[in-house]
Symmetry: C2
Subunit: 411 residues, 2 copies
DNA sequence: CATCGTTTTTAAATTATTTTATTTACGAAG
DNA sequence: CTTCGTAAATAAAATAATTTAAAAACGATG
């Protein structure tokens, strides 16, 4: 029996009854506990799961022969005989995260102990809603899998992060690659030969930041993905909140401005029309046309194909116009966040996405807008923190989601 | 052993281990199942809880001798011996809900089977943040308890609904009756001699509507309490979402207007300044001053102490000005709701609170504003429904919260 | 460096639960 | 109205878990 088979046995949805069912759930609980609490002793598990020592011992032994758990030496002395520490086996399974951006793809490989063992960042790729773009993507993924330093059979699952509207339960992506009735997850799964899930990019980043990033004890956390659009990942009680069909967090399209700009979603007054990376480029052009200047100009003219990354870089190089624009953006985003704080009373709001790389240039205007627009009692309750994982948030989150979905913890 | 003692034994937080612990949790699970699924058979429980028939039988028998469960005749024939139906005993315990409004109090008494056995609506009372008002309130509650048609000892818990910021976990009310450091829940508990919880009024209404009202299978539901202020109760995955400190749902104070009106919260541009019952009265006055007329005028002058209820009544009597104002209000509320829909992608939004009594006069403008302001894909996903429980939502919700907290189901 | 207190682990005894078999109850068909 | 098929409830047997007791492992103390 290979490791893979035994893992699938434990995590299969097969309907067992009676003792077999109970043992299976107990084993899952043990893995869940080892997953969350790290390596522990049998005594620890005994109190955590409310089962006796002999029972725990026999279950652990089975998991050890299954290859999912192994002994990690002895515990520190607590006065008597030292207890054996048990923990998950890092090499017993791997998971892939594919984070698809507008102009590149990031990929990562995670082991069973939630450690990133391999990653490829900034693989060139242009996201377009065409079959060609999709084919390119599959090639990028296959290349990553073939170059991965592990047995392909031990890669249990993958997760694709895409912006736009995603129904991760059913595997549909509505904004990209929705060419026929078959769910995107299924199409990719067939193409790469690995169980595949899809998830909204901001939610995946939120998940990564939540479980492997800047979040410690907080349970209700909002993650902002400030990119060309404005995404929002909502974590409630430690779980991703997706809404009815997976369309939650359309923060960029809340109507809080009284302008006449038509958003690409077709509505007027969306937050995204004033406070996104796209808006940033538009505002930059407008200022240049009004006669302002910037270090980004080539021969005193607008550079062609100006990207958000350029403006971020210029800001960090202390370009005055860019600093001003980022501050304006921050003010507007802060006003948006104050809506979120009033509604969610979160413990923590994380500023992520490429625009978060501007650091204090964007953080301080956001902070002051929050004081201006949200109820102080509620606002004081909420921490504002910058992303810790930066551009790795997506891949790590994707890997963790693949892992979580396959193992179906906490369900 | 009295019934009360035995109930507290099962639901006590006392730390048992081993078999005793397991039996206790199984008993709780049985009660939980009977609570949600109604009367069922032993075979049913066997598959639902994954335990054997003899084990289920012995647990049920213990619960029967405890007085919490009893037999409710035989099941319909399915071909063989007819199964006994078991269910909760309605009279084994009672719960009180106290819904405190600006100008009156509603009280209700719920039995163990979630049936409202007694209620007193519109008990005269004026809510003010003074010790006198609080004393009056206690008198109202004591009067209700003493007149209740059940043994006072069998009333296990009560819940107080108040508007404003409430930390229900710790029992604090910040907007009303926060006279000293002791939690309000504790003060009331000492005064009435019954375990007491406090909850935000809109959340309690949402809870009532969710479990005994218009909600059927939906799990992610938003409830709008349109009163003098605008409250929001958020139900996620069947649970009340309270946020970090219980300040979630401050919907009335999201800054989505660019007006110069100072809200009573101290900020500008709050939804409440334009779309609440308070705003309605202000707008009515303004129109009258501009020369408009209405059936509500006395000698062609503003009536003193005009209440929202008066405008609602006039609307239902087809007063043209009031109908217009309600439509304007609906439009603005709809714009606010579109923010919620974009963020939450809920299955259902319930329009409740006194202004919901205007029915289609407010529903239709809300509906059309939603089409105008929210993403169609997301919007089409969400149902809009009017409250079913109307002014009883609060009391029923309060009773159910008291019951839930005491029994601590799903925890 | 042997002994003692402490804690984990293993083993044996006890208790509890499930599984299987039997009995009881019910409706329908002959 | 008896018989037969089916399903629930009960009883007995078998299995599995917990509890208690004993052994092993370890550090500290004298």
């Amino acid at each position: 029996m290979t490791t893979q088979e035994s893992i699938f046995e434990i995590f299969s949805e097969e309907n067992l009854a009676g003792v077999a069912y109970k043992n299976k759930s107990l084993k899952r609980s043990i893995i869940d506990h080892l997953d969350q609490a790290g390596n522990t002793t049998i005594t620890d598990l005994t109190v955590a799961l409310n089962i006796s020592v002999p029972k725990t011992t026999s279950l652990i032994n089975e998991l050890v022969t299954d290859g999912i758990v192994k002994e990690y030496g002895k515990d520190d002395s607590k006065g008597g005989r030292r207890a054996s520490m048990y923990g998950l086996v890092a090499e017993s399974g791997f998971f892939i995260g594919v984070d698809i951006k507008n102009f590149h793809v990031n990929l990562g490989l995670l082991n069973f102990k939630k450690e990133l063992v391999n990653s490829e960042m900034h693989v060139p790729f242009t996201l377009a809603n065409t079959p060609e773009s999709f084919k390119d993507l599959i090639q990028v993924i296959l290349h990553f899998i073939n170059n991965a330093p592990v047995d392909k059979k031990k890669i249990f699952a993958a997760c694709l992060n895409l912006s736009g509207r995603i129904n991760s339960e059913k595997g549909y992506s509505y904004s990209y690659f929705h060419f026929n009735e078959e769910p995107l997850s299924q199409i990719v799964e067939n193409a790469i030969g690995i169980k595949t899930f899809v998830e909204n990019d901001s939610r995946a980043m939120a998940y990564g930041e939540f479980y492997n990033g800047t979040v410690h004890d907080e349970k209700n956390v909002l993650f902002l993905n400030l990119d060309y659009g404005i995404g929002l990942g909502i974590m409630i009680d430690g779980k991703i909140y997706r809404g009815k069909s997976g369309f939650s967090g359309e923060f960029g399209h809340i109507p809080i401005f009284s302008n006449e700009l038509i958003c690409h979603c077709g509505k007027k007054g969306c937050l995204e029309t004033e406070a996104s990376g796209q808006a940033l480029i538009r505002l930059f052009k407008e200022r240049i046309e009004q006669g302002h200047t910037s270090s980004l100009l080539k021969d005193k003219k607008m550079p062609p194909n100006l990207r958000v990354a350029d403006i971020i870089q210029a800001t960090l190089n202390e370009d005055v116009l860019c600093i001003e624009l980022i501050a304006e953006l921050g003010e507007k985003i802060g006003r948006g966040i104050s809506v979120l704080i009033n509604l969610f009373n979160p413990e923590l709001v994380i500023i992520g996405g490429i625009l978060a790389d501007t650091g204090d240039y964007i953080r301080l205007p956001i902070r002051s807008a929050l004081n201006k627009y949200s109820l102080s009692l509620v606002n004081n309750d909420t921490q504002l923190r910058m992303s810790k994982l930066h551009e790795e948030a997506g891949v790590i989150g994707g890997c963790l989601i693949a892992r979580h979905n396959l193992l179906s913890f906490n369900k």
